[in-house]
Subunit: 325 residues, 2 copies
């Protein structure tokens, strides 16, 4: 079975681990968000791709959810001791090793797709990880700032999230460079040839949003023969992790399991979804989502263990089978 999954960072990585546990023989392709990427001190950093890679490769820190296990922070300690440049991003020493290799390979003229293949080869991933695009796209968040000209200031998503902890009032979100970004090699084919297409419980705005905005990806999803099933990242009106509750209002979407489903929309009405899983406590939302043309079911959606997550993956594949057109 060919399964293609759109992916952000921590939520997607954990879901993928459950999917692999449930369907170890499936041929899984992951289309990763790259709009979180940034250049720090000359290093090219791809947070979402790396979180998927480390998590599925067994090299991630389970407690933090991002970065490497057995990590040390000596380079960052030194950066802070110099006090000459900003140092708000969490760069561990082992993690830096990945960024140095990536930066060098990119400087040699390789594409991000090629570089990602070289990096993931070391981790023997049970999936094929593709960046959504080889072009540079950056999520910028426009925030209120009375001190700035016009009362607004624009900053990289990572600065908004990691440096400012999503505490600044959001006015708008833009994906800089998205107009010129084309799907990376293999992306459209992975969508067209899939038996099942999954949206894991990733941030709808800044994780799945950029992927869906790359030209040609949304139309490829709509044209795909496979059913598209998503899992709600919102449980009981709040994100399990992350800052989606700060971003959904900025794009006019209700922070609820039903709200996110309606945001993606029913495929029969020009949207994307055939099926949608909500958490048990959001069972009351099932009739509303179903009425909108999206087959909905309520199941436990907390990724509290690999087993619990594998059960979520099983439920998603079950729903996909049920809605298969």
């Amino acid at each position: 079975m060919r399964i293609t999954v759109l992916a952000g960072g921590i939520g997607a990585a954990r879901f993928l681990r459950g999917l692999v546990a449930h369907a170890p023989d499936a041929d899984i392709t992951v289309i990763g968000n790259t709009a979180d990427d940034l250049t720090l001190y000359g290093l090219r950093v791809c947070p979402d791709l790396d979180t998927v890679m480390y998590t599925l490769g067994g090299g991630n820190d389970e407690g933090r959810g991002w970065g490497r296990a057995n990590e040390t922070w000596h380079a960052l300690e030194e950066i802070r001791a110099y006090d000459a440049v900003p140092s708000w991003f969490g760069l561990g020493d082992r993690d830096i090793g990945t960024h140095l290799v990536r930066t060098e390979l990119l400087a040699q003229g390789r594409s991000l797709t090629e570089v990602t293949a070289l990096l993931t080869a070391r981790w023997r991933l049970p999936v094929r990880l593709l960046p959504m695009t080889d072009q540079s796209v950056e999520t910028h968040v426009v925030v209120e700032d009375p001190a700035a000209p016009g009362g607004h200031r624009r900053l990289h998503f990572q600065e908004y999230w990691v440096r400012h902890h999503a505490e600044l009032p959001v006015v708008d979100i833009t994906f800089v460079g998205i107009e010129d970004a084309t799907p990376a090699p293999g992306v459209l084919d992975a969508i067209a040839s899939a038996d099942v297409l999954l949206f894991p419980p990733s941030n709808p705005v800044v994780s799945l949003g950029p992927i869906l905005s790359v030209q040609g990806i949304r139309s490829a999803l709509r044209a795909a023969s496979a059913p598209i099933v998503g899992l709600s990242p919102i449980i009981g009106g709040a994100p399990v992790r992350g800052m989606a509750d700060k971003l959904l209002p900025a794009i006019g979407v209700d922070t609820s399991a039903a709200g996110v489903a309606l945001h993606f929309g029913a495929r029969r009405d020009g949207g994307l979804l055939d099926g949608w899983l909500v958490d048990e406590r959001d069972a009351p939302a099932v009739p509303q989502v179903t009425a909108a043309g999206i087959a909905a079911r309520a199941v436990p959606l907390l990724m509290s263990s690999v087993e619990a997550t594998a059960a979520m993956a099983a439920a998603a594949l079950d729903l996909a089978a049920a809605v298969r057109r």
Copy 2:
């Protein structure tokens, strides 16, 4: 007293520590070699400047002589685990912190002189450290390679030394970019305004050689009112450390205390030196050097302790006082 010292890496750094111990109130300017610099994985690395900075700042590893104390090597372990790019250069995690800050500051458009001032501020150096130039200069070594076109191959000095342990037969040494390099701000003034000019026991070919080849530095030294005194890096016909014995023959210089002195030459005859210290075991060379117009003395030149090195510095300043013109 104003003392200006030309400097390579380990030998110069250790000598400077002795000089500071002997003359703590002196106003010392160090003109550092930058032709060893290289870009690795996107990081701008300045080995000689950093060795001087770490050594005088108390952050160096005493055993190795280069790099940071209490160092870890996790980033390099990871680079090697990926096996996708060369990994022969010793990059410690704390050291990488320095390179990341430097790379970022250079990317902001600051000159190497400005960056070096920002980096050294943290270490509260007892000297002022200046790069020889703000332009990029790279020492390349041409080696015999029967497999290469023409039987020769050219490689960066660091690759020749760190990767190949100076074991390849040397045909020639060139300083790429030296024609366009101009002295960094403050360099010519530090030479002109010095009371004493010192050549520490640094490699004459690849440490002092590039500094002396920057346009205007040699003539500034020749025009300086201060005496110029050097300390032989060759003891008993061999370098105390490093690979000068592999490089001196390539430029036609005898690997001996007298050979290096005659290579720099007597100032009265168009050369640079007014005085030259050789090690006690090279005392027989004193008459030959003296006869060439360079005041020579034999003293212990092994930098076995800060005290021994301070005595060398004292001997150099004594000789400078004796030859003051």
